[in-house]
């Protein structure tokens, strides 16, 4: 007597589990240009680092003697792995089995993914493709239905994971219902051109709303890259994996640890000449804020998140002399960089991420104020904008502000955390409102009554603009320093070294 037969069955089941939904189903999936969940897991992790949990979960079929004849694995694959040498949890639906709509063991494993990430306090990565609950196969088998009343809420594990560890997810095909909710229940999410994200798919929509719409029209990348459902849009799955790996490289393993620093940069005191001329003297002319930031931050270190959502502001992660930081700034190509409702939500999300994972914040300010006009009012700009301002005002991580141009309105307050180190460029303009709008309101009658209203308006605007420069404020110590723009990087690197020791005090006790 030995356990040989049992050992053989274990091996057989594992082999069948690796076949997922079967060769034909996998082939159909590959023909669509998509990877299987196991290929995805291998793609996002360091090579050979995957250690599966629950490989034997699934439905076994046996003949009369109890010999294994077939095995349908749980359609959710999960396990430990490493990204950049650091431990993490990874999981994803198997689309080749029931279209990823969770079978019993699959659902259990998907919930356990989050539990495991919280238990081991390591980042959680989800690679999504699949639908939500299905009525197929549900029948009156048993009189005991539903989950016990004492079952914890289904999404409790999602909420706990978000509070404890970095969570990054990808949509890699159609993602609907429960997986869609998990996708956005993340600190960072990415979708490929081939994916769609929906509350419910076309058949459900047609039945309820009598509208024929495709998956792409409901939740394709053109819809969701702009509305903030996902942060980033990428061309293919490989790029999605690279973005998730990159995102995690700036973050600690959990809220109890500090972000990982890269070694000091060898160009710490770089003073790019371009910074002296990058802001045009003509105030109506635009310039490239991403280029400006590139001259200041560690080379190639800026990782942008949410480029198409609220494009008037730019948000992302970067490094300053090796120290990971959150960064946001204004993009004057979009309504002069004014803060729309969407941009405000994006900024709020970034500040919260930095606060949660102990990343100092650096802002480059060219803020004309909240977006104005009827569309902006309809979008509840003042509500979302005020939220951004309040989150910034309450922020407790170290903060540095570089004022490069405009600093107007309530919105400008979103660019300064308490105790912010404030550096100002000579091109700065600051005040309650920009000169043009301010003059139009305060001197409307005087302008209308003037012999040459246009000339009077220009005169008043110029007079007001002259008062909005930074020199008098610098002399009044209303900022830390008025600087030569070329000095920005060395000044911020000095600051990053000063604040780094403070970060350990920011950890939750």
């Amino acid at each position: 007597m030995s356990w040989e037969q049992d050992a053989k069955e274990i091996a057989e089941k594992r082999a069948m589990a690796r076949e997922l939904g079967g060769a034909e189903s996998v082939e159909r999936h590959h023909a669509k240009g998509r990877l299987t969940v196991r290929e995805r897991i291998d793609g996002v992790l360091d090579p050979e680092s995957f250690r599966e949990i629950g490989a034997g979960a699934g439905g076994a079929e046996r003949d009369e003697d109890g010999t294994l004849t077939g095995f349908s694995p749980a359609n959710f694959v999960l396990g430990f792995g490493k990204i950049g040498g650091r431990l993490c949890i990874v999981g994803g639906e198997d689309f080749t089995l029931k279209g990823g709509s969770p079978n019993e063991a699959g659902l259990r494993k998907s919930v356990y993914t989050e539990e495991l990430a919280c238990q081991y306090k390591v980042p959680l990565i989800r690679v999504h493709e699949g639908g939500g609950g299905s009525v197929a196969g549900a029948g009156p088998k048993s009189k005991t239905v539903g989950n016990p009343v004492f079952t914890p809420p289904r999404f409790q594990s999602v909420a706990r994971a978000l509070k404890t560890v970095p969570v990054a997810s990808a949509a890699l095909g159609p993602v609907a219902g429960l997986p869609a909710s998990r996708l956005v229940g993340s600190h960072f999410s990415v979708m490929t051109r081939e994916s769609q994200v929906m509350v419910a798919g076309p058949a459900v929509v047609a039945r309820a709303l009598s509208r024929e719409v495709t998956k792409e029209e409901l939740g394709g990348p053109d819809i969701h890259a702009k509305n903030g459902v996902v942060d980033n849009l990428v061309e293919d799955e490989a790029e999605a994996f690279a973005e998730i790996r990159r995102f995690l490289s700036y973050l600690p393993q959990n809220i109890h640890e500090l972000p990982p620093t890269a070694g000091p940069a060898d160009d710490r005191d770089r003073q790019a000449e371009e910074l002296l001329t990058i802001i045009p003297e003509d105030r109506r002319k635009v310039y490239d804020m991403r280029q400006l930031m590139g001259h200041v931050l560690d080379p190639g270190s800026f990782f942008e998140m949410g480029r198409k959502f609220g494009p008037g502001l730019i948000t992302g992660l970067a490094r300053l002399n090796g120290l990971p930081v959150g960064v946001f700034s204004n993009d004057c190509f979009h309504y002069a960089g004014s803060m729309t409702a969407a941009a405000a939500q994006k900024v709020t999300k970034l500040i919260r991420l930095c606060e949660q994972f102990h990343l100092p914040i650096v802002t480059f300010v060219d803020e004309p104020g909240f977006m104005i006009g009827q569309d902006a009012e309809k979008a509840a700009t003042i509500r979302y904008g005020t939220e951004a301002v309040l989150v910034a005002s309450d922020c407790t991580v170290p903060w540095a502000t570089v004022l490069v141009k405009k600093n107007f309105g309530v919105a400008s307050a979103a660019h300064y955390g308490p105790g912010a180190y404030v550096l100002v460029w000579p091109s700065a303009e600051m005040g309650a409102v920009p000169a043009e709008g301010g003059v139009a309101v305060a001197f409307g009658r005087e302008i209308a009554a003037a012999a040459d209203p246009d000339a009077r308006r220009r005169e008043l605007e110029e007079a007001m603009f002259a008062q909005q420069g930074p020199v008098a404020r610098a002399e009044s110590f209303a900022m830390h320093e008025l600087i030569d723009p070329r000095e920005t990087r060395p000044a911020l690197c000095d600051w990053s070294e000063r604040v780094q020791p403070l970060l350990s005090q920011h950890l939750p006790s």
Partner: protein, 73 residues
């Protein structure tokens, strides 16, 4: 010959048109300049090709996403 519609990133007015229909355009060449929120926003060609059509004129008020020009690559 694929046509590419160039759309406005902003609501505003057409301040200055820098090219005429039929002109050859290089990628990144400025087709027109819009004015929005007191800033001049250059509209650059997304691809090289021929400027097939200008869909707006100087002084026109334009909405976000409105077609401004068509380039055939």
């Amino acid at each position: 010959m694929a046509d590419k519609i160039v759309r406005s990133p902003v609501t505003g007015t057409v301040w200055k048109i820098e090219m005429a229909a039929g002109d050859a355009v290089a990628e990144g060449a400025v087709i027109m300049i819009l004015e929005s929120m007191k800033m001049e926003i250059p509209i650059a060609a997304p691809d090289a090709g021929t400027l097939k059509e200008l869909s707006v004129a100087e002084g026109d008020q334009i909405e976000e996403d409105q077609p401004l020009a068509i380039i055939s690559a």
